[in-house]
């Protein structure tokens, strides 16, 4: 029988030899740590238990164990630190929003070992059609870490809640099973760790550090593109964790298929688990998010102002919060909440007006960068497949976003005929109906155009 069964059988007999109160007190949170070469090591939560079991119960326990497993010659009791964690009564709660307006030390919020910020929880994560798949996938991961949803790959644009979801997952796993080793890192941290480990020849130590985790969460994995050594380390680390049934969670700004310079074997592993996207929130959800944030801050705002914000800031939840904060700050100066007119004025710089938005050069520049081409190439005559597609996408965007006329578009691309432009736009338009990948790509490109 294995360790758990052996200890259970022992406890089952021991409970009749002691009073219920004693049994509960001394044998709480005990378990077998190791059974090797005749030496049985039992983990106990504190030194009091250790003394008691060693001096008072050892004979009885030894007797029972010997009958179940006669290879055991000696029993040792050790105080295990993590055993005590379960003893800490209630599991970790997300630190509740500080009582009304009291601010808390910001640096104290993030746990040192896990890098998880307690303020990100499932409770304050608002679900809408745009993120319900990712949300459901995250919940499934929490329920069954290391199960079928391994690895979990969440992707989506900027400011849509990926980090919140990832951190909430980590926090919830720890809350459900205190003592589990969870670590949240950015891919940048992983990369720099690998680099310094190579420099200092401590690669083995680095590997141990990650492989003893129960769950590993890496944010912004797209930055691994082109970093061969880091990808190799990640590959080995991932395999070790995956085979041991440990959960790995990734986030990225795009689908694994769309990450350039990524090793095939990593790409296939990312796609091997659960891939879920987070798109942009719809109007109702934006409104719900605004209301929830207002409630958290204990502030009230008129409905028409909320409606204005929700209708005009469509892309990014962070921007929503930024707009809200702007209005709240100004309200403290003035003494009351802004009405619709004032709000419009205050938010003018945030809510992109058409001028700021895009110009043809910007669109072409962003598209070129996205596909790793030079602007010159897109405008030139090349009919190479790698160039034609981005060119068509750029033409499509010029039509969609700037409402440029076809001759105008043709001219922008080095004097091409307007029929070329028509063909390009229609082709992309049709492809968008069929390929979700293209929808994602274009949405990412649009984000870059408007945020730059």
């Amino acid at each position: 029988m294995n360790k758990e069964e052996l200890w259970q059988a022992t406890l089952a007999q021991l409970q009749f030899k002691t009073s219920p109160a004693n049994f509960a007190t001394w044998l709480k949170n005990t378990y077998i740590l190791d059974n090797k070469d005749g030496l049985l090591t039992v983990s106990v939560p504190n030194n009091f238990s250790k003394e008691w079991l060693e001096n008072k119960y050892n004979k009885t326990i030894f007797h029972i164990i010997k009958e179940l497993n006669d290879e055991v010659k000696e029993i040792k009791y050790m105080v295990e630190k993590t055993a005590g964690k379960a003893k800490e009564a209630a599991p970790r709660h997300a630190q509740p929003s500080p009582p009304e307006r009291q601010l808390g030390f910001p640096e104290l919020d993030a746990d040192q070992t896990t890098n998880l910020n307690q303020k990100y929880t499932f409770e304050n994560f608002i679900v809408g059609p745009f993120n319900e798949l990712a949300h459901a996938a995250a919940l499934a991961t929490v329920k069954n870490p290391g199960g079928p949803g391994n690895p979990l790959f969440v992707y989506g644009g900027v400011g849509l809640g990926k980090t919140h979801l990832l951190q909430a997952t980590g926090n919830q796993i720890i809350q459900n099973t205190p003592g589990k080793k969870v670590k949240y890192i950015t891919s940048e941290y992983f990369t720099s760790s690998v680099v310094s480990a190579i420099r200092n020849r401590t690669v083995e130590t680095l590997r141990e550090k990650f492989r003893e985790l129960d769950a590993l969460i890496i944010d912004d994995i797209q930055f691994l593109a082109g970093k061969e050594k880091t990808q190799e380390e990640l590959f080995h680390t991932f395999n070790t964790l995956y085979q041991a049934g440990k959960q790995v969670i990734f986030s990225s700004d795009r689908h694994p298929k769309a990450i350039p310079a990524l090793e095939e074997r990593l790409r296939s592993r990312f796609e091997g688990g659960m891939v879920a996207d987070v798109s942009m929130p719809d109007y109702e959800t934006r409104l719900a998010i605004l209301r929830t944030k207002l409630q958290e801050k204990g502030v009230f705002m008129e409905n028409d102002v909320l409606d204005y914000i929700a209708s005009h800031i469509q892309r990014n939840i962070r921007e929503l919060e930024g707009a809200l904060n702007r209005l709240i700050t100004s309200s403290q100066v003035v003494g009351k909440m802004p009405a619709l007119q004032e709000a419009k004025t205050l938010l003018r710089s945030i809510i992109s007006n058409p001028n700021k938005a895009a110009n043809p050069r910007k669109i072409i520049q962003v598209v070129a960068e996205f596909y790793d081409l030079k602007e010159k190439e897109i405008i030139a005559d090349s009919r190479k497949k790698e160039v034609v597609r981005p060119r068509q996408i750029a033409m499509y965007l010029l039509r969609e976003e700037l409402k440029g006329s076809y001759p105008f578009i043709g001219k922008k691309f080095g004097g091409k005929d307007h029929t070329t432009a028509i063909y390009a736009c229609e082709k992309i338009h049709k492809e968008l109906q069929e390929s979700e990948m293209l929808v994602d790509e274009i949405s990412l490109i649009k984000q870059r155009i408007y945020s730059g």
Binding site: K85, L103, P106, E107
Partner: protein, 376 residues
């Protein structure tokens, strides 16, 4: 067991050890104090399984042995007895406590059921510190520890031994106190642990009036404080053993601000009395608005309560830097200000929603207090 002891020693021992007794009813033996007699000495012990206290007193021992006595009755009785010598003897009926004029029989519990209080584990690192200094320092910060279960690491006092000094820190994530206590001689650095709040309080209470040094034995799973009394009539020695709070203490030094936009120096007594007066009119958030204007060379304190009314007062002092309006919980402010002994307190502000640092103006006091404001 048959022994004779001094009443003062017994009383002292009981008043210390009973602090460790548990009020818990799941294991009634924990409400007892064990008294075990050996040649020339008797040991009183009590524990709640997280902390244990052992107190050794001199005894004339006719025969060795021990009993477990309900602590409340035992200490009450010892408190009332007048004679200087008490004799105790145990039998199957209980323990007989006799003096020249009184005779009592207390029912006891079986000594075999009494828990064994751990002693040294073997992997300890030993340190030494002045008893009064430690207790005085602990008293200044123990009440600042966090109470919520959400963050167990801050539910205790952080001890960090740094060679020539011991740094104590406690925080509830809204305010923080740090005390630096010089060590009697240069000792091993790098030892640190988190002491549960209860042990810190009890330790303070027991050893606050003692001169002499406490030996601290820090192991990975527990810490043991050992004190040898100078007056044997009071007792021979006392030991407090405690579990440690698990986890890593947050890097609290990052929280202490270094750059200040505004600095003020105020007379401590004036600040305290103004805060107390203003508190009468603070709202349900206990908020007090502090308005600092360099032009005025002083600080205005304003409180408003929609039901009671409002109050404003002015304290003059040195002001440097930018004007600032900032709100605090007056209780937090008062807690910090009252810990200083200096005549004047210097307060540095890093911004409207940034922490404020309090320290003594003039001679440094080895104590600093940081507090977060209320959102403006």
């Amino acid at each position: 067991m048959e022994i004779t002891v001094l009443r003062d020693a017994l009383k002292s021992g009981l008043s210390f050890t009973e602090r460790a007794c548990s009020k818990s009813t799941t294991l009634p033996i924990l409400q007892c104090v064990s008294l075990v007699a050996e040649k020339n000495k008797a040991t009183l012990s009590a524990t709640d399984l997280e902390m244990g206290i052992r107190y050794v007193i001199l005894s004339k021992t006719e025969s060795e042995g021990g009993v477990a006595v309900p602590s409340r009755f035992f200490s009450q009785l010892a408190g009332f007895l007048q004679e200087s010598q008490i004799s105790l003897s145990s039998s199957s009926a209980g323990v007989r406590i006799a003096s020249k004029t009184h005779d009592t029989l207390l029912k006891t519990m079986p000594l075999e059921d009494f828990p064994i209080i751990p002693s040294l584990q073997g992997d300890e690192r030993a340190l030494e510190i002045d008893a009064r200094a430690l207790c005085a320092g602990l008293a200044q910060i123990v009440s600042l520890t966090g109470q919520t279960q959400g963050r167990p690491e801050i539910s205790g006092v952080f001890f960090a031994f740094q060679g020539d000094a011991l740094r104590l820190a406690a925080t509830d994530s809204f305010r923080l106190g740090e005390k630096t206590i010089p060590l009697p001689k240069n000792q091993e650095a790098g030892v640190s642990f988190i002491l549960p709040q209860k042990t810190a309080r009890e330790l303070c209470a027991i050893l606050q009036d003692q001169t002499g040094r406490i030996k601290i034995y820090a192991a990975s799973s527990q810490v043991l404080f050992d004190y040898a009394f100078s007056d044997p009539a009071k007792g021979v020695s006392a030991q407090v053993v405690s579990r440690l709070v698990e986890g890593e203490y947050p890097k609290y030094q990052d929280v202490i601000p270094g750059n200040f936009k505004t600095k003020i120096v105020l007379e401590r007594n004036a600040l305290i009395s103004h805060l107390r007066t203003a508190s009468v009119f603070s709202g349900k958030l206990n908020d007090v608005l502090v308005s600092i204007d360099p032009k005025e060379q002083g600080v205005k304190i304003v409180t408003k309560n929609s039901e009671a009314g409002e109050h404003s007062s002015f304290i003059s002092g040195d002001v440097t830097g930018e004007p600032l309006d900032i709100s605090f919980n007056w209780k937090f402010f008062l807690d910090g200000a009252s810990q200083f002994k200096a005549k004047d307190i210097e307060i540095g502000f890093a911004g409207e929603e940034a922490p404020a640092l309090l320290k003594s103006a003039g001679t440094p006091e080895a104590y600093l207090y940081v507090m977060m404001p209320l959102r403006s």
